[in-house]
C-alpha cells in the first residue's frame, strides 16, 4: 500500500508535475487509494459488460476525441492495471493509438480518470489524446473490438499468475486464447510478456513456442527493441518488483 502511494509521488516529481497532486481528486489527478481493488478477477463468470457486437459498432471517438478518419487502435495493453505502461506507450508513440484493457471496475475507472486528468493538464500540447482505457474482459471480447490483423503490438505485463492448477484455465495465456490473439494481430505483430513469476514465464514460453503462429524473438532482437527498457520501468507492478529486487522475465514473440 505504502509502496504504491510512493510510486504515485515518484511520478509526480519526475514526469507529471502538478498533475499528480494527490490532494485534489476533483481537479487534479485521481488518488489511487480510492481505486484499490483485489488483484484477482474470474474471467469466465458473467459480468456486466457493455460490449459491442462487432468492431464496427465501437464508438472510438468517445475514447479518443481527436481520432482521425480511418485511424485505428494499433497497440493493446491487456490487463493494463493502473495504466503506468499505457501512459509510457502514449508518450513513446504519439502517432499510434494505444488502448488499455482492464477487467476490474475501480482500477479501470482510475485509468480513465488519470487519462482525463493528463489530457486536461496538457490541453495546449494535445498530449495523451492517443491513449484510453476500456473496462472489458479481453479473454472474451477481443474480436468484438478488433478486426482481423488490426493490432501491431499486444502487451501482457505482470498478468495474474493464477497459481492453483484448477485456475490455470483463467490464465491470460493459454492454448485456445493464443489463436484469438493471433487473429487480432497482424502478421509480423509482436506480443510482449513480462512476469516476476518464473513458473508463469515458463508456462507462457512453452505455450507460445508450441503454437504454430508465434516465434520467440532472440535475446539480441528483444534487447534491440526500444520498448524493452521501458517494460522494466514503467508498469507500477514492475516498479514494485524493481524495489523488491525480484527477478523479472521478459519474452517477446512475433506473430507469423
Amino acid at each position: 500500500m505504502v509502496a504504491t502511494g510512493g510510486q504515485a509521488q515518484d511520478q509526480s516529481q519526475n514526469q507529471e508535475p502538478d498533475v499528480l497532486n494527490p490532494t485534489s481528486a476533483v481537479t487534479g489527478l485521481p488518488q489511487k487509494r480510492y481505486y484499490r481493488q483485489r488483484a484477482h478477477s474470474n474471467p469466465i463468470a458473467d459480468h456486466s459488460f457493455d460490449y459491442p457486437a462487432r468492431p464496427e459498432d465501437v464508438d472510438w471517438r468517445s475514447m479518443y476525441p481527436s481520432i482521425q478518419q480511418g485511424q485505428q487502435v494499433s497497440f493493446a495493453d491487456v490487463g493494463c492495471g493502473y495504466g503506468g505502461f499505457l501512459v509510457t506507450l502514449g508518450e513513446m508513440f504519439p502517432e499510434k493509438l494505444s488502448i488499455g484493457m482492464e477487467i476490474r471496475v475501480k482500477v479501470s475507472d482510475y485509468v480513465v480518470d488519470r487519462v482525463a486528468a493528463l489530457r486536461r493538464r496538457c490541453a495546449d500540447t494535445g498530449a495523451y489524446q492517443n491513449i484510453a482505457c476500456l473496462r472489458t474482459n479481453a479473454m472474451k471480447y477481443l474480436p468484438n473490438y478488433f478486426s482481423k490483423g488490426q493490432l501491431e503490438k499486444m502487451f501482457f505485463l505482470y498478468p495474474d499468475p493464477h497459481f492453483k492448477r484448477a485456475k490455470h484455465k483463467w490464465r491470460i495465456i493459454n492454448q485456445a486464447l493464443l489463436s484469438e490473439y493471433a487473429y487480432v494481430l497482424r502478421k509480423g505483430g509482436l506480443v510482449y510478456t513480462m512476469t516476476d513469476v518464473e513458473d508463469l514465464h515458463k508456462w507462457i514460453v512453452t505455450h507460445m513456442e508450441e503454437h504454430p503462429l508465434y516465434e520467440r524473438l532472440t535475446e539480441e532482437e528483444a534487447n534491440a527493441d526500444p520498448i524493452t527498457p521501458k517494460l522494466y520501468q514503467s508498469s507500477e507492478e514492475g516498479a514494485k518488483v524493481v524495489r523488491n529486487k525480484g527477478d523479472h522475465f521478459l519474452a517477446i514473440f512475433r506473430r507469423l
Partner: protein
Amino acid sequence: MLYRSRPENARLLSTRPLSRASSALRFCSDSSSVLVTDKTGDCYQYDCVEVEAPPRLLLGHLSVVYDILWSEDQQHIITCDRDDKIRVTNYPATFDIHSYCLGHREFVSGLALLTEQHIASTSGDKTLRVWNYIQGKELLQHELPAPAVRLLVRQLEPEKVFQAAVLFYEHVDALGLYRLERSSDDTWSVTATQLVCAEAGSWSISNFTLTSDRIYITGAENKRLSLRVYDIATGQPASSGVPEGWLKMVLDGLGANEEGAPPFIPEDLSVWFKKRFDNVSDYLERKKRRIEEQQQQKCG
C-alpha cells in the same frame, strides 16, 4: 458412445469417455471422425475408424459451445457459443481462426449449413440470421417472436431454397418455420413464415426433428418422456400416416413408459441467458458521493 447404424439394427462400435459433459456433436461428411464440444468450450475430434486413437483438442471457446458445423469440403469448422459469437476456424490448421460472424446479442443456439459459403444461425436475441461465413459478413437478419433455442434446416432446392425450423424458448407457439430464399449470390430473404403451436404450454418441449411432411417433437409430460407428431402443412397433430401404436412402440423402446423409469426433466434453458448483474453503478454512486463530500469539506 459410437454406433454403426444398419437398416435392421444398430451395432455398438466403441464407447469412449469424455472429459466433460458434451454440449454439441457433429460428424464430418464421410463419418470418418466426429467433433464433440463440451461445457467449457473445448472442441475435440474423435476418430471413428481408429477408435482407439486419443481425441485431439482442436479449439477452445471461453463459454459453452451450443452447436458445431463442419463445412462440406472439411476446410472449416464453425462453432457458436454463449458469448454471442460464431467462430470460423480453419481445418486442419485449427490454430488459425479464419473469421468471426458477429452481430448476435445473446447466446447463439443453432447453426446450419446452407451452401458452400453460407450458414444460418439462431440466437437468444430473437433473430434468425444468414451469413457468408468465409467473409464473416451478415446477409440477412430476420426478427423472431421469441428467443431461439434450436435450429434445423432442410434443403428444398439446392443452393437456393431452404426451410429453417426454429424452436422457441417459452412461447405460445413452439416452432417457427421459415422459407429462406437466395435471389442472387449474397441476397437472402424470408419468403414465408408459419408458426406451429404444438400445444406449447401444456407440456415442456425439449427437441424436435422434421421430415418433408411431419414434425416430431419430444418433451416431458408429467415428467415422462413424450413424443408427438404434427403435420407440417397445418401445424395440427398428425391425423394420418402415423401407424397405430407406433409412438407407443418408440417410447417403449426408450423405456419411457416403464414403471419406475427415472423422471424425464428437460434441460433448464433459462441458464443460457446471461445474468447481467450490475457491479458498476453502485461503485459510481459511491464515488459521486465521495467527490461531493470532498467539495463540501473544501467549501466549509
